[in-house]
Symmetry: C2
Subunit: 579 residues, 2 copies
């Protein structure tokens, strides 16, 4: 869908106005399109690009210092007229002739050709280079019939940087031809697009299908398949492009390539990065160095879903011009801030994870804390599904999964630091960090806070005693209320933690053993968890809440009650042992 | 739809790998996210941003010199954990403390808060600024409850540039608060989005509906309406944002604003420019100067369709930091190429349209040519629908509309230059250019070529005679075949033009009057046009051809035959007069 337009027939001219209003520091409008609004170096070749509108950043977004001097902007998906191209070229012309360069489509060839003849008839030297990078659009023997797609950018960039460097029209033309001869692209599509105000899509791709080689106006591709996994698409792209090395390149290994992974409109950046991950691996495996790769949207077709991979096989000149600075509305290279890359050693900044020294008593206690964590994780794993079911009533249903990830992560970390002779305090703090990290979400963070507070109270010097544990629980309760911003009565885990902590502290103050005190407190916690069964918003990340039933207890309160109960049982069965 | 992924559960971590592979010159991966791969100025504050993944360029795309020092990257639409944030902050930390800044969501507030406490506990000064720009998410009296959307960028940019300038942590924090206090956004949504591998959309918007104020994770908005026209959306955005001037701004007039028109994923650049056109007009009407406006994708939600407008009301400091250079994967300011803006006079380069002097005879002939063009336009207008119908069989059905646009444009231009005393040759050439310009498409260009050739043959000195007209038609035919690359037998207008031109020239050579020769040639043209009725591909812009019926004549051939017939009739009825 295209959503935003006024009169569909005015769309192409209105978009130019808005584009120029937003980018007046770089471009200005002339009859037929846009040219730079900044002074170009006198006596240099002007590079004029163009084509139909609907492919932004192509073509107007690529006008500016270091890239094109002007862009002729046709109607949606339609070539600009010769008159438009002529007007833009006259306004862009800079004393050393004009290179017209554009994707190879019949209408564009016709109109740019006619504009070229007119410029020459008026004494302005003019040359043409058509871009023919799309390997799916004709066989290698008919390369001149191929369409131009995202390889437009590599050719425009090289030609423009050569012009900026002061090369003559013949030399700039030769560089553009060289760039085109060494540029290859392959595209795929998953959906078509609908032009502003149209009732029907201009073209479509069957749901679940990938059209291999489909063009950016829906030109038919080579074949249709199921949508592959991201890695499989990366492999397809690289394999096909490597099957057709350009003239002068005998083997892929050792080559350097400019790389563009282009999204057509509604395949988004995150997806492109997942695909690029595998492309980068494959290029490395083939011994190809990716030079200033670009991953993003460079030649689009409204909200068409699709992507293409472009490789320009570099030589020394092409690399120089590919890397040269430029500053256009949609494409910029070079930085005014000079910044050195970090050295390899500096990149290896690792957050310190030294294990502080601990007393023998604290090391023994650490074994006990590890056993407790294992019991907690087991309890959570056993109840994860039920916790998820409870959470789904009022939240997003991931409480069980998140708690299980957190508890299992905590156990894994605790085992590691126990092997490295950590004390009980350090072990619990490290496990707490791992819990928060693996669990994610709000409850993960709160468990991280709670276990960290408890671990800090235990310390690495003495064996934990009842007072120390009770104090730690108090600190955990304070941390959770501080960070979670929940108060008693909000129907969260706080409604369990507060009576648990109160009872534990009272019992300990009255001289009860840790085990007895803990068991008494756990029983109170059980009751409190059931009492949370009321309709109240859950604290947490803002998101649409599913409708809630009255009477379902809070999942976070339930899991806390389960955990203190399990810990109590283990303490009881170990009564003769440590802790 | 999200199309490209491997294991959905691995999506968030794979996208980081791909992102870092594509941008290794600017960022490097650390546990929990990314930090700069270039050396920051020692002794400056580190600005660490972050949030859930799925919003690229937010957040990782904004890390680099002049912008953020690091970004903690959570799972899709989920806050990073405190551990992740802590790790990123430790790796980014640069000797002068850390500012943590992020959009105001409960999960992020919790985790960033916890990371902040941990950093402070380790002796690293740390402050927090949450971004609360979304005016639809809470009333002005509860501004601290508002969500952060695209205003993230203005706050991050100002804070980071202040850090780059060497300000202390307290000063950087104050600047970030000032930026947030003066930043306001309003967003709308037209569709939801589907996370990788999910079978159902995460949230939806009813078809044809605009959800005003919907958040970037589908948080409920204020109201639902029909999708408005682009201009009406611009008016809504500006009106609502101007209703809530920030503290310290008493009237809009005379203010300077940073402006971001943000697309959420599948509302594309061209649509945004159409909306921005009206926004720019409105800001100007209100006396507001837009400073370095940005139109594009800055905070997305996969392929969610929607847009938002952000204004940051500038003061001197905010403007300095908004304009400061930066160089990140997705956001760059400043250019290494120094380029002066053109002066106002230089911007007024207008392609010359002087009318060359003409003989009185040629001026009289021009009136006759104008009358002929008017007849041609009338004929085309009368037959436009039928020409469209014929064209729809083999082409895209726009031949009639295009020809009518061209012919009417030609008449308009011919009238203008006739008033300025143009000769017949100049009048026809200018009309030809207007035809090609207004008609667009292949046939428009070919008619431009043909009429230009004819006009050149007529010239501005002598009254046209039969020989000159016949020669002009020959040149027109050559021009069309040269540019159109069609040969006789390709079943195009060439199949009509060639026998027409042959007959005309033969008749004239045999001494026939122009009228008689033209009528004879027109009759041949009629017959030839009917003969094009065979199944053959049409020349033209590459696009999927509709299925064709055998037996429909070519629309371009038909319109040519109609035109020469109409011209013949007018010549006949004027036989006593000029030409």
């Amino acid at each position: 869908m295209t959503y935003l337009f006024n009169q569909p027939s005015a769309f192409a001219s209105e978009l130019i106005e808005g584009f120029v209003a937003a980018n007046a520091d770089k471009v200005r409008q002339v009859s037929g399109g846009v040219v730079r609004s900044t002074r170009s170096q006198p006596g240099t070749v002007a590079v004029v690009i163009g084509g139909g509108s609907g492919h932004y950043p192509a073509f107007a977004g690529l006008v500016g210092q270091g890239l094109a001097h002007g862009a002729a902007m046709g109607n949606l998906f339609a070539s600009p007229s010769a008159q438009q191209i002529y007007n833009v070229a006259r306004a862009a012309e800079n004393g050393a002739g004009v290179l017209l360069t554009f994707g190879n489509y019949a209408g564009d060839v016709l109109h740019f050709g006619q504009a070229c003849e007119r410029l020459k008839a008026e004494g302005i030297p003019c040359e043409i280079v058509t871009v023919t990078d799309d390997i799916s659009s004709a066989r290698p023997e008919e390369i001149e019939k191929r369409r131009g797609v995202a390889g437009d950018l590599t050719v425009f960039k090289v030609a423009s940087a050569a012009a900026e460097a002061g090369l003559s029209l013949d030399e700039v033309t030769a560089m553009a031809r060289q760039a085109n001869a060494r540029t290859r692209s392959l595209g795929v599509a998953f959906s078509g697009c609908t032009l502003p105000g149209a009732e029907q899509p201009l073209f479509e791709v069957a749901k679940g299908t990938m059209a291999l080689g489909m063009g950016i106006h829906g030109e038919p591709g080579i074949s249709d398949t199921e949508v592959p996994r991201a890695d499989a698409l990366a492999e397809l792209f690289v394999e096909r492009l490597l099957q057709e090395l350009p003239p002068g390149v005998t083997e892929a290994k050792g080559q350097r390539c400019a790389v563009i992974l282009n999204g057509l409109g509604s395949v988004k950046y995150e997806e492109l990065f997942v695909v690029y991950r595998r492309i980068a691996q494959l290029l490395q495996e083939h011994g190809i160095e990716a030079v200033e790769p670009d991953v993003g949207e460079f030649v689009t077709s409204f909200n068409m879903a699709g992507a293409s991979l472009t490789l320009m096989w570099l030589d020394a000149d092409l690399e120089t011009y590919w890397r040269a600075p430029c500053n256009t509305p949609a494409y910029r290279k070079g930085s005014v801030i000079k910044a050195e890359p970090l050295s390899a050693a500096e990149r290896e900044v690792v957050v310190q994870e030294d294990i502080p020294p601990a007393s023998d008593a604290a090391k023994r206690s650490a074994r006990c804390v590890l056993a407790l964590l294992e019991t907690v994780a087991q309890t959570i794993n056993d109840n994860a599904q039920e916790l998820g079911r409870i959470d789904a009533v009022a939240g997003d249903g991931d409480h069980g999964i998140g708690m299980a990830r957190g508890a299992n992560g905590a156990v894994e970390k605790a085992r590691e630091v126990a092997r490295r002779d950590a004390g009980a305090g350090t072990l619990l703090c490290r496990a707490a960090d791992a819990w928060a990290d693996k669990a994610g979400g709000t409850s993960g963070a709160l468990w991280g806070v709670a276990l960290n507070a408890l671990g800090t109270a235990l310390g690495d010097e003495l064996a934990p005693d009842a007072e120390r544990v009770a104090l730690g629980v108090t600190h955990a309760r304070e941390g959770i209320m501080h960070f979670g911003k929940a108060k008693p009565g909000d129907k969260t885990m706080v409604d369990v933690l507060v009576p648990f902590s109160d009872t534990l502290n009272q019992q300990v103050a009255q001289g009860a053993s840790l085990v007895d005190a803990w068991l008494a407190a756990a029983a109170v916690a059980q009751q409190s968890a059931q009492d949370t069964a009321q309709l109240l918003p859950k604290m947490g990340r803002a998101r649409p809440l599913a409708e809630k039933s009255l009477g379902t207890p809070d999942a976070g309160a339930i899991s806390l009650a389960l955990i203190v109960e399990a810990v109590g049982k283990l303490l009881q069965s170990n009564q003769g042992g440590a802790a």
